[in-house]
Amino acid sequence: MSVADYVSLSGVTRRWDGRGGVEDVSLRVPAGTFTSILGPSGCGKSTLLRLISGLERPQAGTVRIAGRDVTHEPASARGLAMVFQSYALFPHLSVRENILFGLRVRRSAAAEREARYAEAVAMLGLEGLGGRRPAALSGGQRQRVALARAVVSGHRLCLMDEPLSNLDAKLRQSVRRDIRALQRRLGLTVIYVTHDQTEAMSLSDQVVLMRAGRVEQAGSPVALYERPATAFAAEFVGDPPMAMIDGAALGEPGVTVGVRPEHLAAAPAGAGDLAGRIVGVEYLGSRTLLAIGHPAARGLVVSLPGRVAHAPGETLGLVAPPEHRLRFDARSGRALGGAGPDGGGRTGPGSAPDLARRPGPSP
């Protein structure tokens, strides 16, 4: 383990009656980086965060924070802050008392408390709200109070459990930027749980994609997007997701071929590698998404710039350029070496050679 790893998990397992939870997860989070734990609901990502926080204890494996083995220490002794999905603000306390709660119970000096409070309030734009109760705040303000409570604690590690899921779409974007700016400014190590791949991709230095309690792939957003290790990762990351085409239809039997929507090109009917019927047209302003029905493909979407003159029901030819095809074993779903940008390797900054990963079955 390198010194720079602020949090490291090895072989951590926590299951309930042999089901759910996480199994044999190893993970490294370098200091001062932003790591997202991404996955569909029920994949164990929240359990993983709770295991790091100490709200849950592992049945096997070790958790180290700042080089210290904290596997058997309670949450309060681990020196971390946490932002909950529900914000978990104390309803009977004012904004000020909520933010200062931790400093008060830990009996820090009044002068230090005031200084840190003033700093956190200024940083999060909560001036003038100190006397209000959480019930009198908007969702975005509550979110910021929860962040201020984490900031004021002064801990170097901050865990966030889907902190944006209770905000509306517009606010989510601006708070997302705020969180990232805050993390950079304070040099925090952040572990951030989300099911929203856009959030994970836009925020993170490292994305840990989970599936059924195990790490499917860990790496930089670029690595996940360009070199997915499995068909599951390829389909989970990206919006709209990667199209999966039975290789036989493209003259490559035995493999599943994945192509990103932006790499598919339209061709006149009859030309191109595939031909399918347009089943849906989504006009998004800068681009138009055409959903194509084809018996050998799943999630076939073409992204074309601007507005296009196609209507549902038309037949469209598609070109899947060989240099943009990612190949996955049709049975195991594992990426195969080949024409991908660099052969499906996993070389993100946070990925570790000992990373546990299951050769998941083809979805």
């Binding site: 100490g54 949450a75 309060s76 529900s86 306390l93 931790g102 119970v105 409570r149």
Partner: protein, 296 residues
């Protein structure tokens, strides 16, 4: 009549009264009218065949205040309230915090705590009569078994009221616990987790988060306990009948005696009016203080 706004206003008024009427009728029949009649009765003298009742103003009240038994009973009731209310509430809170913790046999514990509440007061009193009886009572056997002298808990003025208090506390704590337990379960578990991440001990969490969040429940229970400290006298009939020498007599028992043993309706009515006034004032005070200090 043809003005539509006026029609609308009338219809709304009619609807309002219709919605109000069930509660109004019930309260008027069973609460307001009897209260008013009690006040009325207390202002008249006791009627006999020879001397029909006549208006005497506040004379009955004067008679009450001159009666030393009234003051003994009032003092008893005050002591009884001062002991049973805080003790049963503290016990209820402790039991609720315990029964709310994650532990095995939690369901059994809750049931056990609640059992005294399900027992009718008369049955509970008989049970305790068995505990208290000198000679073969459980308590006495315990005391004499340890080498102490036998105590007639219910039969001597020094202990009778405390023996009555014990029964009330035993009966009420389980009932109040249910309210606390219900309130505890509305506190999101997130809060405890957030507090523990912030470094708060269990004690700090309880003191800074749980107790303030239970405040509305505490107020509700306090009001109920206050009312019960006047209302709950069933066990007196079984255990002491207010004796010995009024040592364990409570206000409602005194009123009952006046009304149905001595057939002195005006005295009973006057005492009732005083109790009502005291309770009303107390409830108003509790809610007023609470409104300023409690977060709902």
């Amino acid at each position: 009549m043809s003005d539509p706004a006026e029609m609308m206003r009338r219809r709304r008024a009619v609807h309002g009264w219709l919605l109000l009427s069930p509660a109004l009728i019930l309260l008027a029949t069973f609460a307001f009218a009897p209260s008013a009649m009690t006040v009325w009765t207390s202002l008249f003298s006791r009627g006999t065949r020879r001397r029909p009742s006549e208006f005497v103003g506040l004379e009955t009240y004067q008679r009450l205040f001159d009666d030393p038994a009234f003051w003994t009973v009032a003092w008893n009731n005050l002591l009884y309230a001062a002991v049973t209310i805080p003790v049963s509430m503290a016990l209820a809170l402790t039991m609720a915090l315990w029964a709310n913790a994650r532990m095995p046999a939690r369901g059994f514990l809750r049931t056990a705590y609640f059992t005294p509440t399900m027992l009718p007061m008369i049955a509970a009193a008989n049970l305790w009569l068995f505990f208290y009886t000198p000679g073969f009572g459980v308590l006495d056997q315990l005391v004499t078994g340890l080498g102490f002298a036998s105590v007639n808990w219910l039969g001597q003025p020094e202990t009778a009221l405390w023996a009555i208090c014990a029964v009330t506390i035993w009966k009420e704590a389980g009932f109040f616990m249910i309210f606390y337990l219900a309130a505890l379960q509305t506190i999101p578990p997130d809060l405890e987790e957030a507090a523990s991440i912030e470094g708060a001990s269990r004690l700090a969490y309880t003191r800074r988060v749980v107790l303030p969040l239970l405040a509305p429940t505490t107020l509700f229970i306090a009001v109920n306990a206050t009312i019960n400290s006047v209302k709950l006298i069933d066990h007196l009939f079984i255990l002491t009948k207010g004796g010995p020498s009024d040592a364990s007599k409570l206000m409602l028992y005194y009123i009952w005696e006046n009304a149905f043993a001595f057939f002195d309706a005006p005295a009973a009515a006057a005492a009732t009016v005083l109790v009502l006034a005291a309770l009303g004032g107390l409830a108003a005070f509790q809610f007023r203080v609470a409104d300023r200090r409690i977060h709902y």
